[in-house]
Symmetry: C2
Subunit: 255 residues, 2 copies
């Protein structure tokens, strides 16, 4: 019988699951949230939410002030441990450095997570974009370097991904449908790298390639970014080749 409330994946450890739900609500709310608001968004009774938040606060994963609840310092250690312990990241850092040095562009590494991607490392090129550290930033798959990740998923996944893509407007005003994106992904697969011009930020451009993994999945990708003037069309093949070399080097040093 198709259970009505699908939101119940039937797992052991309800309380833990709920605590994580609460944390996720906090992670995505960019303001401090009041108790009742958190409860509403997490779909939990207020009393329960309050108890969970109490524990999280005592453990430093959540902070509370007059305005409401916000993520806590304790969360930082986890991220630090993840970044420090990730072998691909360790392998990638010097290579990104070289890449940024050689191209003068900003080089970054990101990783797929569901149907989005997370920036894991970033090395500024010659003209450092005065941009705060975006490590941990969650970006969509359907624009910019995300297209590389979308292109190299396995067939089923790509299909599922495309199925849920709505027609969307890119930063330069172009409207892209799911079918058009599908065509673009095919092109990416053919040449082995993705390019973007004004996809996500007007005036910016990027080239990205997947980091090959032993099981032929592409969960991670590297990218160079710069202004459209920095990345003229005729430079793209060369950048693609350079990126491929770098990605291969990362892959070899990781696995």
């Amino acid at each position: 019988m198709p259970d009505v409330e699908a939101a119940k994946p039937a797992t052991s450890m309800r309380s833990l699951e709920r605590a994580i739900d609460v944390l996720e609500v906090l992670d995505s709310g960019h303001h401090p949230l009041r108790l009742s608001e958190i409860a509403r968004r997490a779909g939990l009774p207020v009393a329960t939410t309050q108890r969970i938040l109490g524990v999280l606060e005592a453990r430093g994963r959540v902070e509370k002030d007059a305005v409401g609840y916000r993520p806590g310092v304790g969360l930082i250690f986890g991220a630090h441990a993840y970044l420090a312990g990730n072998p691909m990241l360790t392998a990638a850092r010097p290579i990104l450095q070289d890449l940024a040095g050689a191209t003068g562009l900003t080089a970054s590494l990101f990783r797929r997570l569901g149907w989005s991607r997370v920036v894991l490392a970033r090395v500024e090129g010659g003209t450092p974009l005065r941009y705060e550290l975006p490590i941990g930033e969650r970006l969509p798959l359907h624009v910019g370097g995300g297209k590389t990740l979308a292109a190299f998923m396995d067939e089923e996944e790509t299909a599922a991904f495309l199925a849920q893509v709505e027609p969307h407007t890119r930063a330069d005003g172009v409207v892209v449908t799911s079918a058009e994106l599908a065509a673009e992904l095919a092109e990416v697969r053919a040449v082995g790298y993705s390019t973007a011009r004004g996809d996500r930020e007007p005036g910016m451009a990027s080239v990205a390639v997947p980091v090959p993994e032993p099981d032929n999945l592409a969960m991670a990708a590297i990218q160079v970014t710069g202004s459209q003037a920095d990345i003229p069309l005729e430079r793209i093949p060369e950048l693609g080749a350079e990126l491929k070399r770098a990605a291969l080097a990362i892959s070899r040093r990781t696995f």
Copy 2:
């Protein structure tokens, strides 16, 4: 008797507490850990640990491979949300930037957490230390800029802190006892800034001041770091004054 390892702070939500214990074990183990090892360190039965890790893995807070368990990508969002949502950090970033620009030194912001401190932001000065991003790194209070935080705790806390400090050897080989540290902290309180020369890293030096908070606590501090040559003794008072101005500016923009 100062409960040495009561380990039972008598809280509601045992399972959540335990899950956090498990996460903390993972955060501090710098290698992948096997199930049994995690269970041992967290003081939990293996089966229980297994169950917890299962949930955490399903939720992306933990990753598992043949070698063992390690922190997972999911942890990054929390940290990102914390860093993005922290008002002091937002206020501090441009000021650190100016500070690094004006002094040519590396400027950083950190915050106290228990008897350690965490690096929250860092802006490289003229000669960028070729060091990976240490954001989230946990450092002791008894050396380097930590002394500023230790000096400006309230009296009780300072006493408690000093009581648990063991005589320790600094990076330059000098042995410091609790009493000597106490004297040093008094000096820090008198002049309003702390200085370090070869405390934590041989050949390095730093100056730090607390960021004043409305309730007169100093939970956060800012610091400039460079080689000992970059920070000659006669330059210190000037740096101290500059830091105080910056700290005040951060404080004003935050609260």
